[in-house]
């Protein structure tokens, strides 16, 4: 379906926040789900691009996306502005399982990985549930949404690779340093970010026996489960491995399920 663009802003260099008017999506959307976006009418790029639902305003019927320009598709999307139309499918995929009311929740985001997690935090805010957020980026200017999350009552811990803000180092390093091993300081972890970061984080929390969910990325064709392009290697029945579809069974998977290589 076509949706009208309400607003498009460059929130940091190369990072855009796009708000569309899509009441049906706003009503149905769950944190962790994504939209499959047609970035232009071209044959190159040809395919849609999956972008997570970043924020939802049900009253206004608006849905916001947060994305980083990395190639042709996202560059085309960034050229659109208020009043333009954008074709999208969704909400697609399986989102995050919401925590129990009294659980201590940690959210770990690497770079643009904050995109879907912000939507989860929005939902937690609505339930008066505050979370500890670990937010990592290459440099201070790429730390997205930190102020907004703090205003909603979440506690934000910051890490940057270049040390320009917060903890100098990786977000997983900061997470590992901050949580008390063996204690029950964390009941549940939600994470999204580069594959290397997720792999490391899963090692840490599996050692600690903390349950959690990660949102993973894979290249997509159809986005609706038909083409089997978006395979993610997972632990299957017994000791076997099975490929699951990121667009259908994912993009959110339980921590123990993904096989990282």
């Amino acid at each position: 379906m076509d949706a009208g663009i309400v607003k498009q802003q460059e929130v940091a260099e190369g990072y855009f926040r796009l708000t569309v008017f899509a009441p049906a999506v706003a009503v149905a959307a769950k944190p962790g789900q994504f939209l499959h976006m047609r970035c232009g009418d071209t044959l190159d790029p040809l395919l849609r691009r999956p972008i997570s639902i970043h924020a939802v305003n049900r009253d206004k019927g608006e849905v916001a996306l947060l994305y980083k320009v990395v190639g042709k598709g996202t560059a085309l999307l960034a050229q659109k502005g208020k009043g333009d139309q954008v074709n999208l499918l969704g909400p697609l995929g399986k989102g995050f399982t919401l925590p129990e009311r009294n659980e201590k929740v940690c959210v770990v985001a690497g770079g643009i990985g904050i995109a879907p997690l912000f939507c989860l935090l929005q939902e937690l805010t609505a339930r008066n549930h505050s979370a500890a957020v670990f937010l990592g980026a290459a440099t201070g200017s790429q730390l997205l949404c930190a102020g907004e999350m703090e205003r909603c009552g979440h506690i934000v811990h910051i890490a940057t690779d270049d040390g320009s803000a917060g903890f100098p180092g990786t977000v997983t390093g900061l997470f590992e340093k901050t949580i008390t091993p063996g204690s029950s300081s964390v009941d549940r972890v939600y994470a999204c970010g580069p594959r290397r970061m997720l792999k490391r984080l899963c090692e840490i929390i599996r050692l600690e026996g903390i349950p959690g969910e990660v949102s993973v990325e894979e290249r997509m064709g159809c986005g609706v489960g038909a083409c089997l392009s978006c395979a993610c290697k997972t632990r299957g029945e017994g000791n076997g491995v099975a490929y699951k579809r990121v667009c259908m069974e994912g993009p959110v998977f339980p921590v123990g399920e993904v096989v990282w290589e």
Binding site: L43, L47, E218, R219, G221, C222, V224, C227
Partner: protein
């Protein structure tokens, strides 16, 4: 009766017969791009499809190839799915019944490692309820054994065809590979071996390399190219085979819109299949169908058969 100058009042006839499979219109789905049907049911009325061709099915379940399995190239899609499927038995038990709720021909695409595999698959599907026809994939570039190997050797292609025909009463469509020196030579042998129809083309073997990491992009190194970039090759293949072989052809390769589909029909395809376009536009099949009908009305064509191979009279 079509009299010159008389406007066509009735809706044109779009129905076609593909080797014994009656299709209410010439628009089918291409195997592997449309899952098993339910995936696209939220977007289109499956009953309006001419036929559904489901994902390639093998004797045993297949896990498929490692990721990444897909990469985009200019106006194209390179894929190496590797025939991930639940195996024929689970397909028949768990996936086929869903389609029984619809009024449309179901064509099952099969692939095997050996000639015997193809024969057993044909036998199992012959007994299954709700299968209208079998599409024999002798052209998959993404599996180690079998697949394209059968499709590139006319003698082997004929042997597979005979084995399948020997085990089923259902119409048998053989899907040809473009990765051959002469697609006509393969088509002729397959026709002699008893095929009821042909579909073409499967994907073109290709690859892409990431200059940053200096390694092939696809997990399986090579893959099959589909999408608009392959269309001229596919139209040419249909054109050549139509002239030499007297079997109905399902044409495919880069059909994004009705005009593309009509190119295939004019070259000689009796029906068409829409593949990668479904990824871009989940309603692509319906847009193609409506566009063909509109073209026929505008050009006063009463029966789609009038267009099949109509461009051939300009052959040199």
């Amino acid at each position: 009766m079509s009299n010159a100058g008389v406007k066509v009042k009735n809706r044109p006839n779009l129905s076609v017969n593909i080797g014994g499979i009656h299709m209410k219109n010439p628009v089918a789905t291409a195997s592997g791009t449309f899952g098993y049907g339910p995936e696209y049911a939220p977007y289109i009325d499956l009953n309006r499809l001419g036929a559904i061709v489901v994902k390639g099915t093998t004797l045993e379940p297949r896990a498929g190839n490692p990721a990444p399995r897909l990469v985009e190239t200019p106006a194209g899609i390179l894929n190496s799915i590797g025939l991930q499927n639940p195996g024929v038995d689970r397909f028949i038990e768990e996936y086929l019944p869903y389609l029984a709720g619809y009024d449309l021909p179901v064509i099952v695409n099969i692939a095997g490692d050996t000639v015997e595999h193809y024969a057993i698959l044909a036998g199992k599907l012959d007994r299954a309820h709700g299968v209208s026809g079998i599409e024999v994939n002798i052209s998959c570039p993404n599996v180690k054994k079998g697949g394209m190997q059968f499709g590139s050797d006319p003698v082997m292609a004929a042997e597979v065809t005979r084995a399948v025909k020997g085990n089923t009463e259902k119409p048998v469509i053989v899907k040809l590979s473009p990765n051959v020196t002469s697609i006509v030579a393969v088509a002729k042998k397959v026709a002699e071996a008893g095929a009821d129809a042909l579909s073409m083309i499967n994907t073109l073997l290709g690859m892409a390399i990431d200059i940053k990491t200096r390694r092939p992009v696809l997990g399986n190194v090579m893959g099959g190219l589909a999408g608009p970039s392959v269309r001229p090759v596919a139209v040419r293949a249909v054109w050549q085979v139509y002239r030499e072989v007297d079997l109905p052809i399902i044409g495919m390769g880069g059909i994004m819109a009705a005009g593309d589909a009509l190119e295939f029909v004019l070259a000689g395809a009796a029906a068409v299949a829409v593949g990668s376009a479904n990824f871009v536009n989940p309603c692509a099949t319906m847009d193609v169908l409506e566009g063909i009908e509109k073209y026929m009305i505008e050009n006063e064509i009463q029966d789609i058969s009038e267009l099949v191979g109509a461009a051939q009279r300009f052959s040199l």
